[in-house]
């Protein structure tokens, strides 16, 4: 192996790629823009949606309130509900989002209360709709309060203490670090994006350095120089790998900066949000473990090698940019599938899944950004990814030694 030649090819290809506008866009501009767009876009959107949902005082209808005067009064006392006169098309109104919820009080409700018989109050909501959910929560709260008042009154009438019906309280306390909570929400998305971008970063240079070179007629020129085939492949391959890792690095820097920017932006708004009784910011913009992101970067290196080698080998087969893109594009889907599978709830990392390329890195990344580091599985994933990458690289070298590929008519 003549490493001098490898670095000569590498240096030339790097310089060549840096002068190519399309390569610059795919490796630098695209990742630099997509991260802040994503963070700010999603951040602001969910912030706005939640805030406006909470700011709105939902309209609620009580069906059959003439049967329960005290309960109606309890509802009217709530400042966070707007009562509207009952009508028969309540279900339609809820569907049309004119009405957020409806409460149905059964016949003989007050009488049943007097007698101590069980009766059932129904809340109609539009499931999955946030504003309807908020309204139902408030209705629920009012009903519970009312029920508690009734119970308390009855206990007092019999000379019993409040603890008679409720001997103890239950409180849930979260011990997961904040990034664990955040990691689960957004943790699957960030590593997946990095994996995807490592592919995008490799794609264009790989095509340009193989099919592009054939298309421009420089392949024959370089092949008749004394450079060895192996040296030529490695020099080119390292260029593709550099582009891929560079894309990932740019994305992480951009991600860090935009997370910082989002945090600053939301810090000012937290006071208002807090006033509104919301802890929106924490839910929308969770913190991500920086150590986890570093771990993702380490895990992505063998994956980037694998991608670089696969795209390189595939594109080499093509005669032109266009043809190469046709062959390479389907790989995007291949990458999306395991990454999406990793985001599904309930898919958890184990030794078997640790051997599935892409999916393994996706899964372990999800773990890492949420602050847990399964060292044994991480090692297994790193080693297996390296093996896959080496296999793909060998295939690339083999491909480069085939006349039928290099001189394909």
């Amino acid at each position: 192996m003549n490493w001098n030649q490898v670095w000569t090819v590498y240096g030339k290809e790097l310089r060549d790629s840096l002068r190519d506008r399309r390569t610059l866009i795919s490796t630098i501009v695209f990742p630099a823009v997509i991260m802040p767009a994503l963070m700010f876009g999603f951040g602001f959107m969910s912030f706005k949606v939640v805030k406006s949902a909470q700011a709105e005082i939902p309209s609620v209808m009580i069906l059959g309130h003439e049967k329960a005067d005290t309960l109606r009064q309890a509802f009217e006392k709530s400042s966070r509900l707007k009562m509207v006169p009952p009508s028969d098309d309540y279900a339609q109104q809820i569907s049309d989002k004119k009405l957020r919820a409806a409460v149905e009080i059964p016949d003989g409700f007050e009488a049943a209360l007097e007698k101590g018989a069980l009766s059932k109050v129904k809340i109609y909501t539009y499931s999955g709709e946030m504003k309807s959910g908020f309204a139902a929560d408030e209705v629920d709260r009012v009903l519970r309060d009312y029920r508690e008042t009734l119970v308390k009154d009855k206990l007092t009438a019999r000379g019993l203490p409040g603890t008679f019906i409720r001997p103890f309280d239950i409180e849930r306390q979260n011990v997961a670090p904040p990034e664990k909570v955040g990691g689960n929400v957004i943790g699957g998305v960030i590593p997946y994006l990095l994996i995807f971008l490592s592919f995008v970063g490799a794609m264009y240079p790989a095509i340009d350095l193989t099919a592009g070179e054939k298309e421009r007629g420089t392949m024959e020129t370089i092949l008749c120089s004394p450079v060895g085939r192996m040296e030529l492949v490695l020099g080119k391959f390292f260029t593709v790998l550099t582009a891929s890792l560079f894309t990932v690095a740019i994305s992480v820097i951009s991600l860090g900066l935009s997370a910082f920017g989002v945090a600053l932006t939301f810090a000012n708004k937290t006071a208002e949000a807090a006033k509104a009784g919301a802890k929106v910011v924490g839910e929308v913009m969770p913190t991500i473990s920086p150590l986890g992101v570093a771990g993702v970067l380490v895990m992505i290196i063998p994956l980037a090698i694998l991608f670089a080698a696969i795209v390189f080998t595939t594109a080499l087969f093509a005669k032109s940019h266009k043809e190469a893109q046709t062959y390479v594009s389907p790989f995007m889907l291949v990458i999306i599938l395991p990454a999406v599978a990793a985001m599904l709830p309930g898919v958890e990392l184990n030794a078997k899944l640790a051997l599935i390329p892409i999916l393994n890195v996706s899964l372990v990344s999800k773990e890492m950004v949420s602050g847990s580091f399964p060292l044994g599985l991480m090692a297994l994933i790193f080693v297996s990814s390296c093996l896959y990458a080496a296999g793909a690289l060998v295939a690339a070298v083999k491909m480069f030694n085939r006349e039928s590929v290099l001189f394909r008519a």
């Binding site: 000569t8 310089r15 007629g217 024959e220 120089s225 005669k319």
Partner: protein, 267 residues
Amino acid sequence: MIEARNLSKTFPDKKGVIQAVSEVSFRVEPGQIYGLLGANGAGKTTALRMLATLLKPSSGSATVAGFDVVREPERVRAQVGFLAASTALYGRLTGREFIAYFGRLNGLSQAEIDMRTLRLVEELDMQEFIDRRIEKFSTGMKQRVSIARTLIHDPAVMIFDEPTLGLDVLAARTIVRFIRECRSRGKTVIYSTHVMSEVEKLCDIIGIVHGGKLLAEGTLAQLRARFNQTDMEEIFVSAVGGGSQLAAAGETRLPPKLPAGGSNSFS
């Protein structure tokens, strides 16, 4: 020196194999220009690509500057300057960077590259554009940079595959003059073309190829005597066996070649 012994090349094809070059043997001495003359599809490019180690012979062997093309391809390439209509340049590099790249791949030091580039720039009159990007060059400029690329490592053997294809008269003359100069510098030159007049003007020995076979070989005088013709075109037609066969040659299926280069001639 170049020596080909029973050199053959077959390409796989859907219907079997194509015999692109069949049992070709010849010898070129230093200071000699050997011209391979043949119609499109005769096997010229395949033969020269085997000599330049771009393709591996299916059978037979060849040595170039004393090195075997199969066993020591890298050393062969270090001794060869290869110029074809299809050897394009890297558009995003400057002329100087392009020449230096090939100098480095040939193992030259930076000092050697600088020195030789300086001389080549002067000889080929490239001062004005050598530091500009190649993509902006005219055909003539590109050609001069290509010539400099083949000479940067001062190879003993020059292989030209239809170098004048698609060039205008003036550009073609530059190439022809350059090939002559290679001979006077004592290099071994092999050259393929389908242009009869170039062969007459340039070549010390002419080999007529057709259907992958070397049908006739000799100096111009020898060929004239053998075929009893003075005109090169007549000699060629007699050698390949008459006009009807020559027409059929145009329909020969083309073996694989580089897609680019704008050349529709398989030689």
